[in-house]
């Protein structure tokens, strides 16, 4: 007898929705990601339980664990720091300079940097982490 063959059932998992969710998540991560600037500068920030959340400033000065000064991620000497900051801050109303200093440095190393920032009329924003610090 010639029976009519039943068509084989076709199984498939609908993945269109998964793709939608994945793309939504990608868009979220693209928009929220801030790729760490100046990650090549080797410095360990200090910590204090008294820190507060602050907004990032477009002008940054870093002093790494060897006492090397970095202005906007570029190596810089103390003598040229003031002129460099002057050029960056001259057209800004909010003259805030984000200052990142390695926790191991001593006052004689970071003090002149603060003085240089003050000489150009900038406000210093000291950056550190949350925690007891010890």
């Amino acid at each position: 007898m010639n029976y009519a063959r039943k068509p084989e059932p076709h199984f498939e998992i609908p993945i269109v929705n998964i793709g939608d969710i994945a793309f939504l998540l990608i868009i979220f991560f693209i928009l929220t990601s801030t790729f760490m600037r100046e990650s090549y500068i080797k410095l360990k920030p200090p910590a204090s339980p008294d820190v507060q959340r602050v907004k990032d400033s477009p002008v940054s000065v870093s002093v790494d664990n060897k006492g090397q000064i970095w202005l906007q991620g570029t190596e810089c000497q103390l003598t040229s720091l003031e002129s460099g900051l002057n050029a960056l801050l001259q057209d800004k109303t909010d003259k805030i300079v984000m200052l990142k200093i390695d926790k191991g440095l001593v006052q004689s190393q970071f003090g002149p940097v603060m003085v240089a920032i003050s000489n150009v009329g900038g406000d210093v924003m000291l950056v550190g982490g949350e925690g007891s610090g010890k």
Binding site: L25, F35, S48, D50, G111, G121, V124, M125
Partner: protein, 153 residues
Amino acid sequence: MKFKKKPFKEPEINLASLVDIAFLLLVFFILTTTFTKTSGNKLKIPSGSTDASKKQEKQLTVSVKPGEIRFGEKSEVVSMEVLREMLSKENFLAKDSSQRIVILDAGKDVPYEEYFQVVMAIAKANGVVALVDQQEIEGGGSSGGGEGGGAQK
């Protein structure tokens, strides 16, 4: 003639590879994203040396040396916790701006971590930090040298 009718197949775009790429990108972003939050505090450090005649009658001073913090009228050695308590008792918010000033006298060899913690403690207590410029003092400059400063929220 009887032709065999081909079963109708709905046209579709194969999205499997697209989803693979999407998930690869997703994994990349999840692994590389660090939600950084900047913490710290702002300090106003106006330039110019301090006039000795403008000295306050009762000026609070925090002296920092490596592993040693001194505060108060008698310049007692205090711990960070005690310093925080003493600063909060000063109730700077109720005082006018000139009375909020806390002079920070840090020695040349003070590590930045200690310095940072003291500055943050003063700032949290709503005190105004006045930095003493060690170089200016050593150079025979004005007494107290330094740069006026202010911590702001």
